[in-house]
Symmetry: D2
Subunit: 340 residues, 4 copies
């Protein structure tokens, strides 16, 4: 069986999920929908993706600049089994009615509230929970990054409490109308919404998060502090747990990766498409266990980290793989994420 997939919204996330779907052996990318013609729409056409007008967009507006459009989003939805909603925050919820009317399944982004779907999803953490579901929410980039790390740690050692300060990038690279240019903006929600969002995946976990926004476009950085109930791991065991898990990349100290700019440079050198880094990024010298307390940094590429998760969500919903490990292996092989 090949699941027929539509992508509604063709920006940062949508275009990446489209490429990822197109690379799967058990899925077919039927088409992508976009509101306005721009260079991204031109690229979609250049790749041979069928393009549809979405939202307030018109078929004419594409035709006028020479971009062929196959119809409107409503037409596209008739041809598919599932739609991945990659519209801007809050718009996904409105789109849900369209999907329901079309009688198809749907995946929503983490920018939507949890109740937009039957379940919130992270492949490592709760793959099975999405089996057979009709509406699934892939949690946000930061929640995905946290959930993966929590999955690794809490499945091996008993966690008393997890704490994370999330240092957020202020805009994506091409979002030129967002600031600040020079300054730090605290997120005045204490603790921040990320903790409760993690609890949609790990309901029992004691977690508190805080966040600040800083003037960079590349990646988020999480400063994690985990308190264990005895016995805790030592640093080597904790590092090894991350190293041996899919979708984690641990840089050795000699690599000279001093921060997110070098992580992105590495991703560009690796050359698996764009400068995407779909793994959680950790540093050998950026992790330390002291008694019952572990501290570690991780960098999260906000543009791409949810992409493999979206693929696994589709596979879970249609029961295309026996379990998470099988799905992750296919996804990672097709997307060029190296196995641990």
């Amino acid at each position: 069986m090949s699941v027929r997939v539509a992508i509604n919204g063709y920006g940062t996330i949508g275009k990446r999920v489209a490429d990822a779907v197109a690379a799967q052996p058990d899925m077919t990318l039927v088409g992508v929908a976009k509101t306005r013609p721009n260079f991204e729409a031109e690229r979609a056409v250049a790749k041979g993706y069928k393009l549809y007008a979405a939202g307030s967009g018109t078929v004419d507006s594409f035709a006028q600049v020479g971009l062929p459009v196959a119809g409107r989003i409503e037409d596209l939805l008739k041809e598919v089994d599932l739609v991945v909603d990659a519209a801007p925050e809050k718009v996904g919820r409105e789109n849900a009615r369209l999907y329901q009317a079309a009688g198809i399944r749907s995946i929503f982004q983490g920018g939507e509230k949890p109740d937009v779907a039957e379940v919130s999803f992270n492949a490592l953490a709760n793959y099975a929970a999405a089996k057979g579901k009709h509406r699934v929410r892939v949690v946000s980039c930061n929640t995905t990054g946290l959930s993966r790390a929590i999955s690794v740690v809490s499945s091996r050692w008993p966690v008393e409490h997890w704490e994370a300060t999330i240092v957020r990038r202020a805009a994506d690279p091409a979002e030129t109308n967002r600031g600040p240019i020079n300054g730090i903006m605290p997120t005045f929600q204490l603790p921040s919404h990320h903790g409760p969002d993690v609890n949609t995946i790990f309901p029992q976990l004691s977690i508190a998060t805080t966040a600040v926004v800083v003037p960079t476009t590349l990646m988020h950085v999480h400063v994690n502090h985990v308190r264990f109930t005895a016995p805790p791991p030592n640093s080597a065991a904790l590092l090894e747990a991350f190293r041996s898990t899919p979708r984690f990349h641990v840089f050795p100290a000699w690599a000279g990766v001093d921060g997110t700019p070098q992580v992105m440079e590495y991703a560009r050198d690796r050359g698996r498409g764009r400068e995407d880094m779909m793994e959680n990024v950790l540093w050998e010298n950026g992790l330390r266990v002291e008694g019952k307390d572990a501290y570690f940094f991780q960098a999260i590429h906000q543009e791409s980290i949810v992409v493999p998760e979206s693929i696994d969500a589709i596979r879970a919903m249609f029961d295309l793989a026996p379990d998470a490990a099988h799905s992750i292996a296919i996804t990672d092989r097709t997307l060029g994420i190296p196995p641990p």
Copy 2:
């Protein structure tokens, strides 16, 4: 009595401490020393400060550009009771020999290791410890900010553990040769050195800190998490404790101060010199107590926060005031820091 003071090093900190000393009723600014002529040296002369050549600098290099110099640092040291060392990190320790040779007292910056002095100092926390001392170290901007906050909290409620993530500005505004321009750099020391540095002021405190560097020049931001042993304060009581302490500024929500850029704008509007904000800056809506846990943000102006502390350190060393409260009151009045 008027303590005769020299400033050795006339950059970000030195020029501010010079202005502050000149404003005190019980101190006399005898002169300032600088290695090279530049616009800051010209400003010192314009203010009527006597200028001396320091370090590898020569009297001639100043004369050649028309800046009158009164001699070398060694000459200056003969005329004073105390020198405030504001040389770049690590240079202060080397300078210590000069000061000893001159038989005068000295104050060092927090960039030097604690053993450069007899005691590490923060006015609110341990004013009395500097009384009669000959060598005092005023702790760094971040440690000063933490120590003030800890002083307020731990003197009122029993703290089980203090945790802070320090989001550091990458450079001062005029340091144009430092980056990163776009990226987040974790500080690969876990926990960071700030915790142990706070312990030079609060030896008994359980504290762990972490740090990242971000591309901004304005202020640091601390994300604090305090765990209390019962009974904890409520949010209102904790806010009131900060509001009623000198050198704290708490912005109400309606002020529209969304981050460090607006804090600096406020400082500029207030107009007390440069855009200095010598207080710890907190936000009414950036503080919350949840059970035994308090979370709060504070912004720290790295350029100026240690200035009033340096003045109080002088006063303590020469026993010019009966206690911290008296010294702080004089310092704050002369520097334009409003009383609580």
Copy 3:
């Protein structure tokens, strides 16, 4: 006679013009109007300025946060001879009706189109043109900077053509919702609107300008190229012309002022209020004449450069000074701009 002045709009420009008016011997600041309460409104009250609700703002919204308001803008306008409109771009034109209804004179910002007023104004260039006028437009920060420089040069040597590339700051320091964070944005109007705007002051000048926006908040930089008809000045004569004119500051090479960050640092050290630099800033080593071509950089502080011009405009409109030189001398003395 003391001209009674209102300020409508109390942001970046309005608050500075208010302070400037309050410092004049021949003007009275009657009150300032603002739409919403924030830290700037609180500062206005702290300075003793009478505050009025403007635009969609209500008296109640200020009262609720404890800021006393004297009424609405309409009330304020009844008490004054002139209003300086410092509302956001395009809003000034709408406000013009209010001012006309009140039967008072008005000054508009350069963000409005020229026909909002009877004349566009720059003190050095066309002071006399504003004499007795009822509606005057003070040209924008970039046009002001260009007009001053053109005034100096074209009054001494015959200019064949003036060309300038304007490297624009993307946002003011506290405008945290504007980008880009990392990138250069060309201004897709070729030549840019600045040239025609200069022609509102110098109708005969052959000028072409271009512009790009860059991720900084501090100052604009103009890269000027002037072609002279023979005979041109030499570098020394050109520099001397700038040095001997009010509202120009020329940094010597030894000052170590390598770019706009050090200019702002100098302004902070000078301490005349905020970090304002109301002069055109040039560099001794940033000017060169080669044959008939002169090249020079100038930095323009977008927040403050129009402030003294606004004061001179008032003086011209009410004929409070015999000529530009007298008005400029008073303005500069009261605002702390050193004479040449």
Copy 4:
């Protein structure tokens, strides 16, 4: 014949030229040399490139971190016909002795002075000049961008004078130790060195350039002003000239490419490796001819623009293609640069 090529220096430029050489049908990448092990060295090994220790680097330092090294640079040089020097600025000149001792040909970067080589090179402009040469200098990124544009324009219409303001990126994306973070730095050489550098390619051209450095990492932007002697082209003809030339990319207005961030996003979406944009980037709405004056913006990707030029230089030196057009066609096809 397959020219055997070594790359000395494996940073921003070196690693790209290595990949480009490896993709050529008439060249063989024998090995790459690097001073220190880091993530880039690891990537070279992962790609199967033979790695050699260069400069002060030791074979041991690589071995210690598990990176196999085939020897020292001197060993590598024995195996090749030509070396591309991609060492940091000024080091290339020192390396020249090594290359001479090895009796091999060499290509230098534009950061070296022109006399390091027999000829300065740009494929479009003077391909034939490098034929049979032993030492060739590929001009810098900015000079390459200018030379390409000049080649297009001056071969079609008579240019009286060319003027360009170069808005330079302050650092490459992974150079985290360079600033400024917030500010504009004029280049205090007037006119800037770029004009004379262009004259190494176009000796007769009247050109003057100026430059400023701004806090971005992505691309340079050139603001060009060309004055023609009559008759000039109109806008459409000038645009068409660029569009019909290899290594030019002209964005239409509807593409929504508002600045360099969207150019890089386009490059990432195109997916030809890293986020490289080896073409000069122009905008349909960023070009205008007015009488005898043409104004246009172009963006230059400093990391990659010289890469195809280096390949063509090799081809010219060894006479592997009949002319520039043939070489450019092969290079562009292998590197994924679309034909005009």
